[in-house]
């Protein structure tokens, strides 16, 4: 929408702002990436005083060998599995709930919506211990179930879908109902296809929740077979301090994967509009 300003200076200004923003955005990540190819002494020798070389990637692959020897590969597969299941399950149940809140007025809807708000106003760490006790009681402790199922229902995602579904024109749904489509049909065949961007956004949120989770997997699933990325990352340390280059190496990989995901799905994410217009 700014496109009509075609004066050259505006383009240059745009590029300038974009580039400065990019530097701030990328610099920390780039520094971690550069450092992940160096030994620890070099990393710290180059930052004080600040040297240009600290931003130039090193050539050592040892940190990467190191982390894969310590179970990083297995943790990545685990996290990927847990994340994908959480994304699929989470999208289904939360979008259904969002649909209910957006489309219907029913007894107790405000109270239930209040509960949903409550569920995300409480910090996850605060409920970790009762949840841990519960997992032990129902026998899910130290299984994938403990990692996945408690994380599926998510108030923020329900709220996200509710917000989006409220924007879908009611005429569209009423027409479909008149044509004999069930409510589930309306949800599944009309609303969900229209909400591709929001679904991808929700998926990304759910993915990142699992990708970042640390305290819960640490206490709920201590077996090495069930280790997730953040849990393993904390293990790249000696008794007294982190092994910096290994932590950077793991962070680089852990950070690049979602980026690739975003890059691949960006087209769907931001151009779902065309789909709406064709209807």
């Amino acid at each position: 929408m700014i496109t009509h300003i075609n004066k050259n200076w505006s383009i240059y200004a745009w590029y300038l702002i974009i580039v400065i923003g990019l530097i701030i955005t990328i610099a920390p990540f780039w520094w971690a990436l550069s450092s992940s190819f160096k030994d620890n002494v070099t990393i710290f020798a180059e930052v004080a005083p600040f040297s240009f070389w600290s931003m130039v990637p090193g050539t050592s692959l040892d940190p990467y060998y190191g982390i894969f020897q310590k179970g990083f590969g297995k943790a990545m597969i685990n996290t990927f599995f847990v994340s994908v299941v959480s994304v699929i399950g989470g999208i289904v149940i939360n979008s259904m709930a969002g649909f209910a809140f957006a489309q219907f007025r029913f007894k107790g809807d405000n109270i239930m919506f209040g509960f949903i708000l409550l569920s995300f106003a409480v910090p996850a760490d605060a409920i970790a211990i009762p949840l841990f006790k519960m997992m032990r009681q129902i026998g899910w402790f130290d299984t994938y179930y403990a990692l996945i199922i408690p994380m599926l229902a998510n108030g923020i995602i329900i709220f996200l879908f509710r917000q989006f579904f409220m924007g879908i024109p009611k005429e569209l749904m009423e027409a479909a109902r008149v044509d004999g489509l069930s409510w589930f049909g309306v949800y599944w065949k009309i609303c969900m296809p229209l909400s591709r961007p929001v679904t991808l956004g929700a998926g990304l949120l759910l993915f990142v929740f699992q990708w970042e989770s640390f305290l819960w997997p640490l206490i709920a699933a201590p077996s090495p077979d069930l280790h997730l990325i953040q849990v393993v990352l904390a293990r790249f340390s000696t008794e007294y301090a982190p092994i910096w280059n290994q932590q950077f190496a793991a962070s680089t990989i852990a950070g690049l994967l979602p980026l690739i995901f975003i890059y691949m799905f960006q087209k769907q994410f931001v151009s779902a509009l065309t789909g709406v217009e064709q209807k």
């Binding site: 929408m1 149940i93 209910a100 409480v122 519960m134 996200l160 961007p197 950070g255 980026l259 931001v270």
Partner: protein
């Protein structure tokens, strides 16, 4: 839907709601209720014997007498008032910038979203190293422009701002993503029509983008607020609430009371208070930024 039962209107919303609601009750509300209950219990170990006493609101009373709690509440309020509008205006501005068509736009957008992939604990550790007062990259960078070294995280007056910067670095990418998606959804015809009417850039933003983005902005506002109320990773890793309690937000004080001190009565009392504050703020946002619900199926 061959079954008669499912044809009844009233049951439909409940069926849609059931899976998420049941899971929320079991895995969120039930533990929250337990936590609320535990906040009324005082545990002591006098004489080496564990005693659990139900003390009604004594833990809360104790909190209200504790200057540290009020300090925490103050810091939390300052943080909330600053960080949320700051992150959202920045996200909105960035989303507007990234709506411009350019040959590299897909790459540029992806790079701007990079912080999403970097977990907050890692981002925090890296920023902590970069903001080191003597060895940090940030001061090295400022030095290029002749700006004297700043203390950042070790200064009572800059630590909270540094944490806001770190959280914003991570958060803006996230919220911008949703705003960007919302903007892409606005039909281009609206802008074309406005252009014919001679609308200026700002007018288009004010009268087309903002109103049509309202629902997305509400979501982003509420989600961002809720997220920042429980922001504590940078405090856990970098400042421990310091220097001089200047970054000791309620969420961190609760975390510290619980996981460091094992004083769960205190921890969960703080959590309860924080949750109530958070709900009130979110409620106000829904009230003032919300939409009416009249067009729903009864």
């Amino acid at each position: 839907m061959k079954n008669n039962f499912f044809k009844r209107q009233w049951i439909v919303p409940y069926l849609f709601l059931a899976p998420a609601l049941l899971a929320t009750i079991a895995f969120k509300l039930y533990p929250i209720f337990i936590g609320l209950w535990e906040s009324l219990i005082y545990t002591s170990f006098g004489g080496g014997v564990e005693k659990r006493l139900f003390v009604w609101f004594e833990n809360y009373q104790y909190l209200f007498d504790d200057p540290l709690f009020w300090q925490s509440l103050k810091i939390t309020s300052i943080l909330t008032v600053i960080i949320n509008p700051f992150q959202i205006s920045l996200s909105l501005g960035l989303a507007l910038l990234l709506m411009r068509k350019s040959r590299f736009i897909r790459v540029i957008r992806s790079l701007y979203l990079l912080p999403i992939g970097v977990a907050l604990p890692i981002a925090t550790v890296v920023w902590g190293l970069m903001l080191d007062p003597y060895q940090g990259l940030a001061n090295g960078f400022l030095g290029l422009f002749g700006i004297p070294p700043q203390p950042f995280l070790i200064s009572e007056h800059q630590a909270l701002w540094s944490i806001i910067a770190i959280a914003t670095w991570k958060g803006v990418a996230f919220w911008m993503l949703f705003l960007l998606a919302g903007m892409e959804e606005i039909p281009t015809q609206y802008y074309e029509a406005a252009k014919i009417d001679g609308a200026r850039t700002f007018e288009k933003f004010r009268f087309i983008t903002l109103p049509l983005l309202k629902r997305t902005i509400l979501f982003v506002f509420v989600a961002d607020t809720a997220t920042n109320f429980v922001l504590m990773v940078p405090m856990i890793i970098l400042t421990k609430g310091g220097p001089m309690q200047s970054t000791n937000v309620l969420a961190f004080e609760a975390y510290r009371s619980g996981f460091y001190y094992q004083d769960w009565g205190r921890s969960l009392s703080i959590i309860s208070i924080l949750t109530i504050i958070s709900l009130i703020v979110i409620g106000l946002q829904l009230l003032f930024l919300g939409e009416n619900k009249e067009d729903k199926v009864k």
